[in-house]
């Protein structure tokens, strides 16, 4: 068969892999730089299915009197255990209000004050109230506002339900992607002068996660395989309050509105972990409004002490909203109530909600600078898939939605500028695309006799990751995980594919997603093993202290074919806030006398 890919290789100026919040924001940004630039949004799902849709609590930006950009920056930096690049954070908090107002102008239905101004709510780790929200479906409303607004731009072409399998790189720059059109099974090269990765996180590497089924680290693995380093991959955020079986997120807003975390004795156990003293009303940066890493770690300590409850899906504690009353719950947390009623058969108005820490967010991602540019020419990344880094060792709740606007926009503008340089397509691209097509056919579509079921490999990967790279880690366990992931990658060569259809072959995509997740798992374990200190979400039992001497630096992990990945370090950028102690629930320094 001489199925030429070139005769019909569509070409664009900027191509986005992923159509969630960051991708759509970037697409609009490109169109606003120059409406003549052709933009392609290539996404394995329809854009409004993207996982941004599940974000609940809100999006942070300084807007109210009495708040300041510096305070937002400080909360972010201390929350990130001083691993954030402070130049990036300053830029982030500066641009955040503008981006949020822009989204307001694009129709996002922000919740309002009686006088018509945008309302804000408190959030974990934030000293001031600065979290904008659209009830408790903030991500949903932001995504739909962005998607619907993007429909206005004629220069944005969409490749809905196209699954990207590879970046096309030649002459040291990225020049497009190869993707499978799910509807027809056609394998197609799509070329572009700039490519932006906006594929989000990789929660499905773990067994219990708030992440949707589509969160498999696709873009991280694509970049990693193309030789681009991943940054800070050891920092995996556990959200302290997920529903045990489904991993459905019970938003932090439920604690911001005054919810309590109780152990099996009905005791607000956070007071035992240096998070402040219990008060009847929520206190910012204290108790239940402490940062996510500390709350998740407290759960593990309670588990050790035997003070958690035990259910069919493992240990859990209770989130108590009953004292808030029906009215507050229905107006401020309607989605929480809906989720509990519909998926867990529990009414939070009168019953306690079972919760456990669940994997929620990846602080790490594709290494980028503050323009969203990666070290590979023409390749950009934004959103959860990227690591700028503003999240450091632990992201503060409600910073990620803002991040995808600020850095989605920046990456879009930078990618547009890059595309305007207008370099010609390299001669080897077509051959590379043809090779990729052959690989997909050889390894998956035409393959028979595989012995390893996808679900089996995936399950083994998830359980070793939970056991070794979870909330608390040790060198021994990580070494075990390292060997196990290598073994799984080897066994993946024998993956069993029963489905050889060209039409909407979801077994094929599941296999490809598993291969991405195995690469991401490898990167996480490798970085976690090398970082022999404890910081933010990375807690080593064998190295319980933070070690600024050696590790006030980002990990950069690079893929090496037929060898273990290489880990290097890049110093953290410190501008105005020297590393200090992270203090919650009490004053940061002894009060001056008098």
């Amino acid at each position: 068969m001489t199925d030429s890919l070139s005769s019909e290789m569509p070409s664009h100026d900027v191509l986005l892999v992923g159509g969630g919040g960051a991708g759509l924001r970037a697409a609009i940004a490109v169109s606003e730089v120059d409406p003549n630039l052709s933009v392609a949004v290539v996404s394995k799902v329809y854009p409004m299915r993207s996982h941004t849709v599940s974000a609940e609590g809100g999006s942070a930006a300084v807007i109210k009197e009495g708040d300041s950009l510096d305070e937002h920056a400080y909360d972010t930096i201390s929350g990130g255990d001083w691993m954030c690049d402070q130049d990036a954070v300053e830029l982030f908090v500066n641009e955040a209000p503008g981006e949020m107002l822009q989204l307001e102008h694009w129709g996002c239905p922000w919740s309002r004050e009686p006088d018509g101004r945008v309302a804000v709510r408190p959030f974990g780790g934030m000293k001031k109230e600065r979290t904008w929200f659209a009830a408790d479906k903030t991500g949903f409303h932001m995504l739909h506002a962005l998607f619907q607004t993007s429909l206005k731009y004629r220069s944005i072409a969409r490749y809905d339900e196209w699954f990207v399998t590879r970046l096309l790189v030649e002459d040291g720059r990225v020049q497009g992607v190869v993707a499978i059109e799910l509807m027809t099974g056609k394998i197609q090269a799509i070329t572009a002068k700039s490519v932006i990765i906006c594929t989000g996180g990789c929660g499905k590497v773990f067994p219990f996660t708030t992440n949707a089924n589509i969160k498999n680290g696709d873009g991280m693995a694509l970049a990693y395989r193309a030789g681009v380093p991943l940054k800070d991959m050891e920092f995996v955020q556990y959200h302290p309050t997920g529903l045990p079986f489904t991993g459905i997120l019970i938003t932090e807003a439920s604690r911001a509105e005054g919810g309590f975390l109780l152990n099996k004795d009905g005791y607000r156990y956070l007071q035992d972990y240096d998070l402040g003293t219990p008060q009847p009303k929520p206190v910012l940066r204290s108790m239940e409004l402490g940062p996510r890493d500390r709350l998740s770690q407290a759960f593990m300590k309670e588990l050790e002490k035997g003070r958690t409850l035990e259910g069919p899906y493992g240990p859990y504690v209770h989130l108590d909203l009953t004292h808030l009353g029906k009215k507050i719950i229905d107006t401020k947390l309607p989605f929480v109530r809906e989720l509990c009623l519909k998926y867990e058969n529990i009414d939070p108005v009168s019953e306690l909600i079972p919760v456990r820490p669940v994997v929620h967010y990846m602080m790490g991602g594709v290494h980028t600078d503050i323009q969203g540019a990666t070290p590979l020419a023409g390749l950009f990344a934004a959103g959860e898939a990227a690591c700028v880094s503003i999240n450091g060792a632990n992201r503060l709740g409600s910073n990620s939605l803002t991040e995808l606007l600020v850095f989605g926009g920046r990456a879009g503008r930078a990618a547009a500028e890059h595309a305007l340089q207008d370099k010609p397509l390299s001669a080897g691209i077509e051959a590379q695309a043809a090779d990729e097509k052959k690989r997909l056919e050889r390894e998956f579509l035409h393959k028979s006799g595989g012995t390893e079921p996808i679900a089996g490999l995936r399950g083994e990967m998830q359980s070793i990751m939970e056991k070794s790279a979870g909330i608390y880690r040790t060198g021994t366990l990580l070494e075990e995980a390292q060997a196990k992931v290598a073994e799984l990658k080897e066994r993946f060569r024998q993956v069993a594919i029963q489905d050889h259809s060209h039409t909407f072959n979801t077994e094929l995509t599941a296999a490809l997603e598993l291969s991405y997740m195995l690469d991401v798992a490898e990167a996480v374990v490798e970085c976690a093993l090398h970082r022999t200190e404890s910081r933010g979400a990375h807690q080593r039992i064998d190295f319980p202290r933070r070690d600024d001497e050696r590790f006030l630096a980002h990990s950069l992990v690079s893929h090496r074919p037929d060898d273990r990945p290489r880990v290097e370090y890049l110093p953290v950028t410190i501008t105005r806030w020297p590393p200090g102690e992270r203090v919650y629930g009490r004053p940061a320094a002894p009060a001056p006398p008098g």
């Binding site: 509807m183 027809t184 099974g185 056609k186 060209h502 039409t503």
Partner: protein, 139 residues
């Protein structure tokens, strides 16, 4: 449309289900919808009869008497009865639709649907009462 169309590689081959002729019988809400559609026929009947009545009125007392006798035909009585039921049905569904079409607010709060629909019924009763009053006074 034909399911036997051969599959061609890299081309979708969609299956389209045909809507069955009796689709409306599957569900009460669908059936209700068809009945309401059907009611328009009977509303039209009413209109035709009314026009005939006007025509007869114009033709003088004899013609009008003839028309009234014609109305007593059992078939016409049945037709009028059925028409009345359908028009009633049509009116009720129409009234119940008002709260959907108009979100009425009082001091910032949306009025419950029942309260929005209620004025229709009140007006209807009032007009009916007036008609009854006029008729009985004549008699």
């Amino acid at each position: 449309m034909k399911p036997s169309t051969a599959y061609r590689q890299y081309h979708p081959k969609w299956y389209r289900t045909r809507v069955s002729t009796l689709w409306w019988s599957r569900k009460w809400s669908y059936l209700k919808f068809m009945l309401r559609e059907l009611s328009s026929v009977f509303v039209a009947c009413y209109v035709v009869i009314l026009l005939l009545q006007l025509h007869a009125l114009r033709g003088g007392p004899d013609a009008y008497q003839g028309f009234q006798d014609w109305l007593k035909d059992p078939w016409l009585v049945i037709l009028n009865g059925v028409s009345f039921l359908f028009v009633l049905f049509h009116a009720v569904t129409w009234f119940n639709l008002t709260p959907k079409a108009m979100a009425v607010r009082l001091r910032g709060k949306r009025l419950p649907n029942v309260l929005v629909a209620a004025p229709n019924y009140v007006a209807w009763l009032a007009v009916s009462a007036l008609v009854v009053f006029l008729l009985t006074r004549q008699g």
